[in-house]
């Protein structure tokens, strides 16, 4: 085990897969010379050269679309869209072409590509650089959505995604690149579609992903101090989703708090709530509560950004509501 930054875990995953498989390559804006806006591809140019680490123009649609085409033609691109917010420009290429070509063509092609991007708030960079748009992609059949919260998960999942034959949206979080965590020195991968139970508990299930998973853990720790025994699930993958893990926990605790950094309306966590309704309604002791971002564009001002995005305190408060202790 070594302690690594999240950004290093990403970089190492790409480097290892590039050494293993000559079909893997990287392209995106400022990924080569600059090493990525959040330094997640730093050093790759030096090792792999410009043929395999490609700086592109500011052409998000072409980046995503070229990844689709390269994947269909036998490569395994790891393309980067610098901010999640810019996926708005690449939607057609990723969702309409990448996500559907296999199905539309009767299963006669595969599109093995990873689109890495980075989302979330926390840097006061406002409404066009702070979004969490994962719900859109969960609602787009044909693509996977992976959102790791730790260096360990980031590396193990990214390696799996690069080897998977489906188009994957791999969403990092801008506030996590500087977080550290233990990462095995030996080779490992993490299967897609498996949530991680960060903490077992019997009173309430708190579910999150990406940065919010850390806040869920924090909340659980503080709740423990108050005698509340929370179970924390880090989804890690939104599609495929580990429904079974969620249901098992709900059947045990009967109470659920769902968290997300994306706006509340039509948030992906509503899907989780509905799956619980469909498969474990009778186990619920209280209505499922959600803690999401406000239904506003993310404001720049620190006071407003803090108000907009779920805090640990709000997660704790929600847990108490669901436990009838508020």
């Amino acid at each position: 085990m070594s302690v690594k930054f999240y950004r290093e875990a990403i970089r190492d995953a790409i480097a290892e897969e590039m050494r293993r498989d000559p079909r893997v390559f990287v392209m995106g804006e400022d990924v080569a010379v600059y090493g990525g806006a959040y330094s997640a591809t730093k050093g790759l140019l030096e090792e792999f050269g410009e043929e395999r680490i490609r700086d592109t123009a500011i052409s998000e649609a072409a980046i995503a679309g070229a990844a689709v085409g390269a994947a269909m033609a036998g490569m395994r691109p790891v393309a980067e869209i610098m901010y999640f917010d810019f996926m708005t420009i690449a939607m057609d290429q990723f969702v309409n072409q990448g996500g559907k070509n296999r199905y539309m063509f009767g299963g006669k092609t595969t599109v093995p590509m990873v689109l890495r991007t980075e989302g979330g708030a926390g840097r006061c960079i406002a409404a066009q650089h702070s979004q969490s748009l994962e719900a859109w992609f969960c609602h787009a059949p044909g693509v996977f959505v992976v959102m790791p919260s730790t260096p360990y998960d980031a590396k193990g999942l990214l390696k799996t995604c690069i080897r998977d034959d489906n188009p994957v949206l791999f969403v990092e979080h801008k506030m996590l690149y500087g977080e550290k965590g233990e990462v095995p020195d030996e080779e490992y991968t993490i299967p897609l579609g498996q949530a991680a139970v960060r903490r077992t508990g019997k009173d309430v299930t708190i579910i999150g992903y990406s940065r919010m998973a850390l806040r869920c853990e924090e909340a659980a720790k503080k709740l423990a101090e108050q005698g509340i025994d929370a179970e924390v699930i880090d989804l890690r993958c939104l599609q495929p989703l580990d429904t079974k893990c969620i249901l098992e926990s709900v059947k045990k605790t009967g109470r659920v708090v769902l968290t997300s950094e994306a706006p509340q309306n039509a948030n992906f966590v509503c899907e989780i709530a509905q799956r619980i309704t469909e498969h474990a309604f009778d186990y619920l002791d209280a209505p499922v509560v959600r803690v999401c971002a406000a239904d506003t564009p993310v404001p720049m001002s620190p006071t407003l950004e803090d108000e907009c995005i779920p805090t640990t305190a709000k997660i704790i408060a929600a847990a108490k509501v669901v436990l009838g202790k508020a």
Binding site: A61, G65, M75, R102, D165
Partner: protein
Amino acid sequence: MAMLKAAVGKTGPKEEMALLLKQMMSIRAFEDKVFELLARAVLKGASHVYAGEEAVAVGAMAAIGKKDLITSTHRGHGHCVARGGVLKLMLAELCGKETGYCRGRGGSMHIADVHAGNLGATGIVAGNIPVGTGAALACKMKKEGQVVLCFFGDGASNNGTFHESLNMAGVWKLPIVYICENNLYGMSVAVKRCCTVENIADRASAYDMDGVIVDGQHVLDVQATVAEAVEKARAGKGPTLVEAKTYRYRGHSSSDPRVYRTKEEEKYWQERDPIKIFRQLLAEKKVMTEKELDAVQAEVDAEMVAAENFALNESPYPAPEALFDDVYAGWRQGKYGLEKLA
């Protein structure tokens, strides 16, 4: 300014010529049948037919090899035939039958034959341009000498992805030939009403690549022009934008009354029919006799009858239970969501 490609005139070996003619006739026969089936409401969905433009697909495809790749458009039947597509599998696809190229999932707008190097049609105008460009990037990186032909229309050249892709190909010197089928209209909108250039090929200069205009009604001219561009691409000298001037005979779709164009214009182009022109050339140059030419047509007609029978009568629809097949590679839909296959 784009270069206007001079006419070729010279014909090639008889067998090759007969194949080109057959492909053009096959496209025409297929499209006439499609139009008829649409009118009779036997065919569902939308089909954009290629009649009138046959020389472009057939000429271009004659300029590449088996291992090369193409990306096609919403008006993709012609590309599919010219790439070696089998009429019965195509018509079955248009009918949404399990026996079709895409097992009926794609239909007209998504006809693909990936194993034959046809990376597929798309319903998104200009949506295939980045995909083709990425395929060319793969070709370059794989170093197996492949090139890509990327087809699109005049209308597509006004879309942002055209710009981004050609810039990318120009910077990276990708082995790709962009083939703009300029049939004067994007649906109802004439090029001169929505596009700042008359010749789409003139846009090439913005992307550090050559722009070439060719008469899209002469199959051999198209072949020669594309062949030159393909050679350049294969030699690592980068992409070319080829503009083929052509015309679609039918309305944009079967419900289009074509109010945006004149009978005179339509007549002018009907007189420049690519099949008629090529037949005449082959007869004139004595490559084939009238009898031989008629025989090709008869062969095509017979295949078309067989294709219709196959698609309409002999082919089953997909089973409803197969709905979830192939959404993901290696995963299937389970009770609680996706499940990994063993």
